[in-house]
């Protein structure tokens, strides 16, 4: 309900969470380097190796949670609105990012047994099914899948056969999906928790080295919520929300494995194993007009909708407060800060074609029809059974109990079958009693009746089966209000609403405070009416301090820039000296070895090609024109048509000899 997208675009929500100092860290005497300002949503990190004057770096997020924060705070303030959106048919993703041992798994899963310490995943389960139980006139179908990506391979944690590797596929209509991923329809919190536990078990059993494994693999718990509701147009609309709950591998691993996905620029490490040669080569290729046969990482492809696509996304950056994890914490913060810029365009997924809910509904309708045809549903019972009779070709009028009460299929069915059976038995008896019939005929009729009884039994069985299937199908569809009798519904709903309002309020407050801080300086002037000199001094001092801190920050920035600048300048100077030397050498060569007229000729032909950024020669023969524009042959001697020898000239001058004309 909260955080509606204003223009269809919505930034990734990023929150930071810091765990308390561990006992070991305290014992080892590590300093705290992280300071969190919950009200302002700011984290500042101090470099333990920094010079005394250096100011801590500050990052601002949508919210921050310090060591004293409860699981419920994070859930109610940040995650709850997202889950609400998923229930409305948006796609949602929550992922935890951070170094191993900063509490990713605690944040996502928490301790199941203690309600206080439950993480996002169990709270989301609770939330989803409570919402459904309180809804009205809506049908829900909740499915869960659980998978893991380890070394670029996808494993289905719910499948029986663990050796099978799943493939990422694409469909023109529905985008990226995982082929053959099993999913379980769940009806309540218990069932979905069971699914979760099942997957977690396989995850730990499937690998020989659990710790190594878990910190290297990404786990994704996927919940699909389909909801059908009759819209104002009288037609049924189905909305599908998908929720990805992602427990990423430790961030330090990602940088160490570095090769997947984006290539971190700052890492200049050498990869030791020759098996990474492919990564080295592909890093050389410029991707525009070429094909690089290395697929982008599975995780990125799977979550592409969550990162800049059709989804609402929350990222929880988890941090450790102690000084020894300064570098990792800083890189986590930087990453989180960059993630704030990702813009998503969430949209409600309305009436997609391939919903399971629709399939189920259709299946139920089909089964219902089948049952009805068998005459098992109260209302139509008479007509259909009559039709049956007519088919059987018996005109006998049977008496039927006019019980139209539909208190259950079984009862109807039983009644009907009993009646039929009784009637048949009766008829059988009648035939046996009827002495007027010939014994042969009698036998035949009896057999016929036997057969009919047999058929009836079969029908009965089939119907039972159908009924069971029908029941099973229908029970999978969750309908609010009916499934769970909840007397305190209304009150709880109100309570929740209020809580939400409070949270929303809190968030707004934080935003406003962040804004306020920005405007503080401007407003200062307006408040400058002082009651006493002392107060004035006080306020001015405060202001001075603030400005001084700011000055210090700016100075540090300037120093950084200056250093950078000097470095660049030195580089340039060096390059210039180098070039000057080169140039002088070239000049020397030209002066001493190339005749000036040759030099001039060459100079005249040189021109600069801006496209290729280099000097080029004009061709000796101008191109562009056709070959007829070849330079004319130079005339040989003055006044003559062709080259002419001395002798010929003399001969010509002497007499008009035709040969020399």
């Amino acid at each position: 309900m909260a955080g509606k997208p204003r223009s269809g675009c919505e930034a990734l929500r990023v929150v930071a969470r810091c765990r308390p100092m561990s006992r070991r860290e305290e014992a080892a005497g590590y300093e705290r380097v992280l300071e969190l300002d919950v009200k302002l949503g700011q984290v500042s990190i101090r470099n333990p190796r920094a010079a005394p004057g250096e100011l801590p770096k500050t990052f601002t997020f949508d919210a921050v949670y310090d060591a004293s924060s409860k699981q419920a705070d994070l859930y109610d303030e940040t995650v709850r609105p997202l889950i609400d959106s998923v229930l409305q048919g948006f796609n949602g993703t929550v992922f935890a990012y951070g170094q191993t041992g900063t509490g990713k798994t605690y944040t996502m899963q928490g301790a199941w047994a203690e309600p206080e310490k439950r993480g996002i995943i169990p709270s989301a389960f609770e939330h989803i099914f409570t919402h459904i139980s309180r809804s009205q006139n809506q049908q829900y179908l909740v499915r869960a899948s659980y998978l893991e990506i380890y070394q670029e391979e996808i494993r289905d944690l719910l499948a029986k056969d663990q050796s099978k590797k799943l493939e990422l596929k694409e469909n023109p209509e529905t985008g990226v999906y995982i082929k053959d991923l099993s999913s379980f329809v769940t009806k309540n919190v218990k069932e979905i928790e069971h699914v979760m536990n099942l997957g977690s078990q396989t995850r730990s059993v499937g690998s020989t080295n659990m710790n190594e494994h878990s910190s290297r693999s990404h786990a994704i718990f996927l919940i699909t919520i389909e909801c059908s509701e009759t819209g104002p147009d009288g037609e049924e609309h189905i909305r599908v929300g998908k929720l990805n709950l992602v427990d990423l591998a430790g961030s330090e691993r990602q940088s160490k494995m570095g090769a997947h996905g984006e290539r971190p620029k700052e890492a200049s490490k050498i990869n030791l194993s020759l098996s990474a040669l492919g990564n080295v080569i592909s890093a050389l290729v410029d991707g525009r007009s070429t094909h690089i046969p290395y697929r982008d990482s599975k995780l990125t492809r799977l979550l592409q909708d969550s990162l800049g696509g059709n989804a609402k996304t929350i990222m929880v950056a988890t941090l450790g407060p102690a000084s020894h994890s300064y570098d990792e914490s800083l890189s986590t913060l930087r990453f989180a800060n960059r993630a704030k810029n990702i813009k998503n365009k969430p949209r409600v997924n309305e009436d997609p074609k391939d919903t399971l809910l629709r399939e189920f509904q259709e299946e139920i309708v089909r089964l219902k029809a089948q049952l009805e045809r068998r005459g098992m549903l109260g209302k139509k019972r008479r007509r259909s059974s009559r039709r049956k009779k007519a088919m059987d070709g018996e005109g006998a009028v049977e008496n039927e109990g006019e019980d139209d009460n539909e208190d259950g299929l079984e009862k109807n069915m039983e009644n009907y079958l009993k009646e039929q059976k009784e009637r048949l038995e009766e008829e059988k008896a009648a035939i046996q009693d009827d002495h007027s019939l010939v014994s042969e005929e009698k036998q035949k009729l009896l057999q016929e009746k036997e057969k009919m009884i047999e058929d009836l039994r079969k029908e009965q069985e089939a119907t039972e089966l159908l009924a069971i299937k029908y029941k099973a199908m229908e029970s999978k569809l969750l309908i609010g209000g009916r499934t769970i009798v909840d007397h305190t519904n209304e009150q709880q709903k109100m309570l929740e609403l209020k809580r939400q309002e409070i949270n929303e309020q809190k968030r707004r407050e934080r935003e406003m405070q962040q804004e306020m801080l920005l405007r503080d300086e401007e407003t200062m002037e307006l408040r400058e009416t002082y009651t006493s000199l002392q107060q004035e001094v006080e306020i001015k001092t405060k202001k001075l301090k603030k400005l001084y801190a700011k000055l210090q920050a700016v100075k540090a920035e300037i120093q950084d820039q200056h250093d950078e600048y000097i470095r660049v300048r030195q580089d340039l100077e060096e390059a210039q000296n180098e070039q000057t030397r080169e140039l002088k050498l070239k000049y020397l060569i030209i002066e001493n070895f190339i005749p000036p007229e040759e030099k001039n000729k060459i100079m005249n032909r040189l021109y600069f090609d801006g496209d290729e950024d280099q000097w080029k020669f004009q061709p000796l023969v101008p191109t562009g024109g056709n070959s007829s524009q070849m330079k004319r042959r130079p005339t040989s001697a003055v006044g003559y048509k062709r080259p002419i020898s001395q002798y010929a000239r003399v001969a010509m001058a002497r007499r008009a000899h035709p040969r020399f004309r």
């Binding site: 223009s7 209509e173 082929k179 190594e212 200049s268 040669l277 080295v280 050389l284 290729v285 094909h291």
Partner: protein, 595 residues
Amino acid sequence: KMAAGGGWPAVCGKFRAARTLSAVESLKDPETEPYRSKYSARALLQEVKQLLSAAEEGGEERVLAVRQAVLEYELGVNHTDTEELSAGDEHLQRCTQLLEPHRLSPDCVSLYIQAQNNLGILWSERDDIETAQTYLESAEALYNQYMKEDGNPPLDPSEHFMPEEEKLTDQERSKRFEKAYTHTLYYLAQVYQHLDMIEKAAQYCHTTLKRQLEYCGYYPVEWARNAATLSQYYLSKECFMEARHCLAAASVIFSQAGNVPSAEDIDETEQEQHDLPERKAEIARCWIKYCLNLLQSARKLLEDNIGELDPDRQLELKAQRKKEEDEKEKGRKKAVLFGTSDICDSVLAMEEKVSSVYPLDFQEAREIFLVGQNYVQEAKEFFQVDGYVTDHIEIVQDHSALFKVLAFFEEDYERRCKMHKRRIDMLEPIYADLNPQYYLLICRQLQCELADTYYEMMDLKVAIGNRLEKLDSHTVKKINSLAQFAIKYYELFLDSLRNPDKVFPEKLEEDVLRPAMVAKFHIARLYGKLITSDSKKQLENMQTSLEYYTFLVDYCEKYPDAAPAVETELELSKEMVTLLPASMERLRAKLSPCV
């Protein structure tokens, strides 16, 4: 000679135990104690070191020094592995100091090179890539010097702690030595990559691949994939001969996969078998890009300023080619050739199937086109729409691009038109199947490409029509319908830019700026080209055309930084905005007396 601790065999045993601990056991260490085995290995190595120095008096000085160097090397690597870089640095430095005088002798050279490799790695860990470069380059130089002066298979470092009877064969020695050097080259490739010396990095990658082939240290499928990737680097540098060589080698080596068991152990044979069709299709895609790039580069050479084939250039290039043909071939080849003779023969046979010189006329272009088209079919066999939407469409787009560039070489307008029609026929059905919610970017690309193709076809029809004495109604109809289709797809593209509330964005994002402006511009032109006998209709079309031109001009006025992206279009639009009203006025004037 070795007095203390049970003599020489015990020392060797300890040394070997340390190596196993560090190489095998350490893989199983728990997360909480990641370096447990490494630390035990270190302790063992220290013990060995003490035993050695205790026995100092007895031994020969030279032998002792080398053994100490081996230990320093192992300790250095151990410290580097456990993230104690400065200690590692010290040990490795001591190792090289000890070896310095003997570094060119067969019992030291391998160790010296490996020590320098590890120093290179160590300095890269410290983000000092230049220092790493010096170590690795000196290792490279040492290898070359040794091979020139001696060349016999040198001892492997581990042999210094082996009993005589276990010493390695010459073959094994050579293999290990060459492997160490291959790693030197491979690390250098990475160093150059980090230093942005891309060309050198590529050259070293190439050599690494070559050596993998020579010393049988490769998985065929992976090798083929790497070679194919390297070919793409050469493509981007327009080195088509090298690119072709890489691709041909990739295809040849790939065909070995599954037939010849390679020297390295393969655990995931099954998985690899499963991936074979995909890898094959990937290589086919690299071939497609080769054909496409070759054709497109040739086109760039041959086209004149309006994008048509320039016959003078053609003649000139043909003459030039004749002259250069022989010299060039020999010059470059020996540096890059892959493989031993039998592989080399199959690679050369493979190479002959497609040219690596720029095609200069339709016939030559067509041959390359056909090769490319074959690979398109091959790639499509695996990358089918259902399951591989993005890949499939990329292949189809390449196919379309092949047709487009082939059309450039075709002189006959009718046939050229047919080629564009083929493009439409392959793009349109795919576009229709796509859900824009998930494939927005691809949809936009297809819209633009379809629109451009219709636009080109219309231009061709107009050109054909102009040759006729008089436009017949059939041609007019054709031109108009083509123009309408082009407009339709441009409009679809522009619609896709609207936000969910169907409003066209005030300011265009940078990545769509040029396409959107060009679309507007082309629509304006298309409205101008529509042929109608009805003057009123014509006036309407001119009005619409004017509106689109005006949009372009206004937008660039409002956001001046957009102007450079559409320079020529803007210039023309400005002109049209001034001209069109006048001709509309004329038309109106003509129209009114009739009414």
